[in-house]
């Protein structure tokens, strides 16, 4: 099972396009990528979840950890998600109050 992770720059934000399933097996790859970005000085990050087919608490934990890292540098981490089944996970866990969630990458990077 592969997790696709592509990084691009949009309006001085690092956008991570995630594709595939984020679970206990693949979440460490996402964690490594986000840690790498912060280590390289990217403190304003957008994680695009539009290509994500599955997300569980291990994936949520990675996103929360990354948010703490960028906040330590006065940075930001926002999400792009319009899929009901993924949004539901954020609602159940109360994380809609923690992450800014946008309908498009452009909206997230411009916020």
């Amino acid at each position: 099972m592969e997790l696709g992770l592509d990084v691009r720059e949009v309006d001085s934000h690092s956008v991570v396009d995630v594709k595939g399933e984020i679970d206990v097996y693949t979440a460490p790859k996402l964690r490594e990528k986000l840690i790498e970005l912060v280590s390289d000085g990217s403190y304003d990050i957008v994680v695009n979840l539009e290509g994500v087919e599955f997300l569980d608490s291990t994936g949520l934990g990675v996103l929360v950890g990354a948010l703490k890292r960028v906040k330590a540098h006065d940075g930001s981490l926002s999400l792009v998600c319009t899929q009901d089944k993924i949004l539901k996970i954020f609602k159940i866990t109360g994380l809609t109050k923690v992450f800014p969630i946008h309908g498009s990458v452009e909206e997230a990077a411009g916020a």
Binding site: M1, V24, Y25, F54, L55, T58, L60, G61, I89
Partner: protein
């Protein structure tokens, strides 16, 4: 009463196999796609929790997943060694002895399990390890 048993090596890569198999069984049992999605997440939470946290190279332990169709409910039991969750009766919750980071993760996992299935219990097995039981009413 149909029963299906799956045994996977205690490695995270195999959790996706369990999700795939149980989603297929759930569709066959008549659950709609939204409830199948809920079940996939709940199964993933239970299996991830059952994996040993620090896996030795030579570890040969297995995680056993048992699917049972009853007339009024579907039951999924995951036997392994739960590291994050505990609880029966009052509902599933984080274990008491976790560090801050593990407790944060356990809280998210417990919230998902309490919401996505009708009942979730984690009990100690007399032979060692834990049994997590997920119940979905039909």
């Amino acid at each position: 009463m149909a029963t299906v048993e799956l045994e996977i090596p205690s490695r995270s890569v195999y959790v996706a196999v369990v999700r795939l198999a149980l989603a297929s069984l759930a569709r066959d049992a008549g659950l709609d796609e939204e409830r199948v999605d809920d079940l996939r997440i709940a199964v993933s939470e239970a299996c991830a929790d059952a994996l040993p946290v620090h896996l030795a190279e030579a570890d040969t332990s297995q995680v056993c997943v048992r699917w049972t169709e009853h007339p009024d409910r579907l039951e999924i039991e995951v036997e392994g060694r739960s590291s994050l969750l505990q609880g029966d009766g009052e509902g599933v919750r984080p274990r008491r002895d976790l560090d801050d980071s593990a407790e944060d993760h356990a809280s998210l996992s417990a919230a998902l399990l309490r919401s996505l299935v009708d009942e979730c219990t984690v009990v100690e097995r007399s032979e060692g390890g834990t049994r997590t039981r997920l119940t979905i009413r039909r």
